[in-house]
């Protein structure tokens, strides 16, 4: 039995390593493009909601905890009911995560940030997004506004300190054309955003399928301290998906936040 369990765990980890390589390729590509199109990536990254991303991180961590508890319940021979309750709790957290993700995707639809400029709220071939949602997500406008706001701060600061006017160093305000260009380039960020979170969400959907299967098997009382391999391997998969998000959250939501844009 011990040898069988060992073989299963080893096999599962080998599969997870192929997954690491798949997501790893995306991470590497994301970082390289971030270096090449830094201002556009900052503009894109600060347009997604850090509060929702933060909440979702806590939800996913909680689901990892309940998953670990489900494995523990099977491993230590707890009742079927207890095993099922932990699996079910994991599914609830997983579904909540996907719900928030859907809300975030809808916001991007609302702001016309879906790359390609074909899908978006009220999009039409004549007016485009800005014509319908002038208040929302106009990245070019925000880039210029940010520079103007920064300059206002600098001037206020200089006045308070009594710095002579010719010593004050202002930030250059990007021209309309250059701001538009950066906004256009932020589509590269959004392509990565949707590809990476989309692939991650797809793994979550598969994970929910696996959890349903574990729920049924736990209900039939098929797991015991002698045999709980499916639970153990399902847990490994679920935790792996959690780890991917642990890296997605800082890379997509956090690392450009300090630049001060909203």
């Amino acid at each position: 039995m011990e040898q069988q369990r060992e073989a299963s765990t080893f096999g599962m980890w080998v599969f997870l390593l192929t997954e690491i390589m798949m997501f790893g390729g995306l991470f590497a590509a994301y970082l390289i493009y971030r270096i090449s199109y830094y201002p556009a990536f900052v503009a894109g990254s600060t347009s997604i909601s850090v509060a929702w991303g933060f909440g979702n991180t806590l939800v996913l961590l909680a689901s990892s905890f309940t998953m670990a508890m489900a494995v523990w319940a099977a491993q230590t021979g707890r009742s079927r009911k207890q095993q099922m309750a932990w699996v079910l709790a994991t599914m609830v957290f997983g579904a909540a995560f996907l719900g928030v993700k859907a809300k975030e995707y809808y916001d991007k639809y609302d702001e016309c940030h879906i790359p390609g400029h074909v899908i978006g709220k009220g999009f039409n071939a004549w007016g485009g997004c800005e014509a319908n949602n002038p208040k929302l997500g106009n990245i070019a406008e925000e880039i210029q506004k940010k520079a103007r706001d920064d300059n206002e701060e600098i001037l206020k600061d200089a006045k308070a300190k009594g710095t002579p006017a010719d010593k004050v160093q202002l930030v250059p305000v990007p021209s309309e054309v250059s701001a538009q260009q950066t906004a256009k380039q932020s589509e590269i960020f959004f392509s990565f955003y949707f590809a990476m979170t989309g692939l991650h969400a797809f793994h979550m959907v598969i994970g929910l399928g696996l959890l349903t299967w574990l729920l049924v098997r736990a209900g039939r009382g098929q797991f015991s301290p002698e045999y709980y391999t499916p639970m153990e391997l399902g847990g490994l998969y679920w935790h792996f998906v959690d780890i991917v998000w642990i890296f997605l959250f800082p890379l997509l939501y956090l690392i450009s936040r300090h630049t001060g844009a909203h």
């Binding site: 369990r5 980890w13 080998v14 970082l31 935790h239 800082p250 936040r257």
Partner: protein, 98 residues
């Protein structure tokens, strides 16, 4: 069965999840402080710490055989090569970073 499969206790799991949540709050709060080039470094260091906690305890690698440990280690080592060597190239292309 030769020996009972070692497994962590509920108390340990609770300590781990609380640590993970505290680290998440920390990385979120630090993200708004301007540390210049250190922002991504701090964010990714915290992410690595969180991942290591999940791998060692939730994924039971700490309690697994040497074979599993080496497999996991090798996987992440290759990931590290993929990312650091690619970035070493791109980050040293003056015309790209400038």
């Amino acid at each position: 069965m030769a020996k009972e499969h070692a497994h962590p206790t509920v108390g340990l799991y609770i300590v781990i999840i609380l640590t993970l949540m505290v680290l998440t709050c920390a990385t979120w709060a630090i993200a708004f402080v301007d540390l210049g080039i250190w922002n991504p470094v701090v964010a990714l260091t915290i992410a690595v710490m969180k991942a290591v906690l999940v791998i060692l305890f939730f994924m039971h690698v700490r309690y697994s055989s040497t074979l599993t440990k080496i497999t996991v280690g090798a996987g992440f080592f290759w990931l590290l090569i993929l990312i650091t060597l690619s970035l070493l190239d791109y980050l040293t292309r003056v015309w790209m970073v400038g």
